[in-house]
Amino acid sequence: MAISTPTVPSTPAPAQDRPDVIVIDDVRKRFTVRKDNTIRERIVTLGRAGRKHRQDFWALDGVTTTIRAGSTVGLIGQNGSGKSTLLKAIGGIIQPTSGTVSRRGRLAALLELGAGFHPDLSGRENVFLNASLLGLSRAETEARFDDILAFSGIGDFIDTQVKFYSSGMYVRLAFAVAVHTDPDVLLVDEVLAVGDEAFQRKCLDRIRSFQEQGKTIIIVTHSLSQVQEMCDRVVLLNKGKVLHDGDPIAAVSMFRDVLEERRSGELSADVAVGRGTVLGATVHADGKGPRDGVTPGDDLLVDMEFEHLDGVADWEAAVQINNTAGQVVYGTTTGIMGLHLEPLHGRRKLRLRIADTNFGTGKYFINVSMMDSAGRHLHDLPECDSFEVPSFGDAVGTVYAKPSIEELD
């Protein structure tokens, strides 16, 4: 993520009087994976044998939710959790196996930029075609054409065939068309992952102005900081079920738990982790109590306790500090500090001193890990403690330094 404004996402004022735009009622979607794809194979595997060549799985399993006009909803979840399927069901691109999706208002789906661009047609022809696919009439497109052209920055290339465009031009033109349709509901699927930073900023600015105009945005993304920055509500999906629906911060931390679960599951499968554990860790500023605010200049002390039942000869301790948006603001390991820890057998306590810290206002979480010499995580203890930096009123951001102004002439 290139952009991170320090302001808290402004949740639009009372939303109670707004109409529901999308009502999802117990939507289930079954996918059947077949291994026989030609007539010959189907006939050979007809009947009972055919069932062996089929595999069902539920991409969505009883999803029920209601989305109000003007809200920005993030859909998060690990790969294969059903986010994109849900988005496509809302868009009407796939039909649910059971349950209904109802909606009102005009909808535009940005599932892929430039869907429907024909390489042999000119940019201008493609703009009209794409706009009509997104629900704009020819007259409306004509009225907006200059804006679209200006936004895309394509210039004279507009009458060149699209196949000669660079990939950047292609995406810019496609996004320009998409944002100039005037939808009530906008579905966005990972679109923001493409393009350079300047382009991403442009996209995000557009989406913010959509938010201000009270348009409903449903966004699928893997960027958790983007979710916390933009969404006022997050739906966390796991294996087709809604795990959490509501506050973004809580959803993101729950999602981290889900990912952690999967990671440790995978780990135990392929690496012999042994029985190492981070038993606990606490943080406080030197000379202050455990819950006192940390101010710039304080030394932070992280007290950690490790245990390994089988004994590990070569190991490292790692500490990482995250802000509430989940961004890493500080991290270190005994390895990069150049220390070699004594072999661990049984329990041991260590204290890490981080001298002369200058954290900006906000809340910070401590994550502690035990790693082997190859850098594999033997055990993680995420968000085991936190500390807060009080507000100073003269600066924002994750780093604090005293600002002042002087006249130069």
């Binding site: 707004r18 109409p19 796939i94 109802s102 869907a115 042999d120 009509s132």
Partner: protein, 300 residues
């Protein structure tokens, strides 16, 4: 800031269930209405199909005509001169070209729409539009090509001084309607089936070739009546909708001496019956299509 007028307008709109299969009749009606609302897009898709097909080729649209004209030459010389059909049929060139024009319309509709869903898979997976527009756009593109070919046919009749200015011309519209209705019905079903089984597009190549020879295009109906002595076989042959339309077209465009040409009795009535049946088939085809389209996005 938040646009209150937009909110108010939004609140007034009804909640619509997305893409739910309602009752057969109402479903068809709703989808027809959706397609009608998208007619502007339909026009653009047709234009795209036509433009993209001959983009970057020096001769462009001329190529549309090369195939039927070549076919005409071959049939005229091989069938007409070498095998001697021309002796039995007046204005043999016009006769063949009339039949070919009708057949080409049908085969382009069927072949074009069969590939249309798979060909537009990129769109179907990413944007929701009533999926019927893709086969319909192929029908539209085929109609444009037909119009060009038909223009040439009329020009040829002018040059040969056999312009079809006679009462037989009333057969033209019913014949075209029959071709359109059957072509669209078959195209709709096959376009949907082709998503699930790609074998379909190879099957239709063969099927269309059989149909070319199963209609009186390069030989005359009288020859069939002479050869096919089994009553029910002749009935099947005659009532093939494509045969009926080809005969109708010939009746309309090809100037001939009615005394030496055999036609099935009540051709107009047969065309009308075929049209009504075709219309029912088209509605059925639309139902099949809308039943199958729910899984398009995941099957493509």
């Amino acid at each position: 800031m938040v646009d209150q007028a937009r909110m108010a307008a939004l609140a007034k709109e009804p909640l619509v269930v997305v893409g739910a299969p309602t009752s057969a009749f109402r479903g068809t009606w709703r989808e027809l209405r959706d397609v009608f609302r998208q007619r502007e897009m339909l026009g653009m898709l047709i234009r795209r199909d036509l433009k993209a097909r001959y983009k970057d080729s020096a001769l462009g649209f001329v190529w549309t005509l090369v195939r039927p004209l070549t076919q005409l030459m071959i049939y005229y010389f091989v069938m007409g001169k070498i095998l001697g059909s021309a002796g039995a049929i007046d204005n043999f060139a016009i006769y063949v070209f009339t039949g070919l024009t009708a057949y080409t319309l049908f085969s382009e509709i069927v072949a074009g729409s069969t590939g249309s869903i798979v060909g537009n898979s990129g769109l179907i997976k990413k944007v929701y539009v009533p999926r019927e527009v893709f086969p319909l756009a192929s029908v539209g593109a085929a109609l444009v090509n037909f119009a060009i070919q038909f223009g040439i046919l009329l020009a040829a009749t002018l040059v040969l001084r056999v312009f079809p200015w006679h009462e037989g011309i009333v057969y033209l519209i019913p014949s075209l309607l029959v071709i359109l209705v059957y072509g669209a019905a078959i195209g709709l079903v096959l376009s949907a089936l082709n998503v699930y089984l790609r074998d379909v597009q190879f099957v239709i190549d063969v099927g269309l070739m059989v149909l070319l020879w199963a209609s009186p295009i390069v030989y005359s109906y009288s020859m069939v009546v002479d050869q096919l002595r089994v009553g029910w076989l002749l009935a099947i042959y005659t009532n093939n909708p494509l045969t009926l339309s080809v005969l109708g077209m010939q009746n309309a465009i090809w100037m001939h001496d009615p005394a030496d040409v055999a036609y099935p009795s009540h051709l107009m009535l047969r065309l009308l019956v075929a049209f009504v049946i075709g219309l029912l088939l088209l509605i059925g085809a639309q139902r099949v299509f809308s039943r199958l389209q729910g899984n398009f996005a995941q099957e493509l």
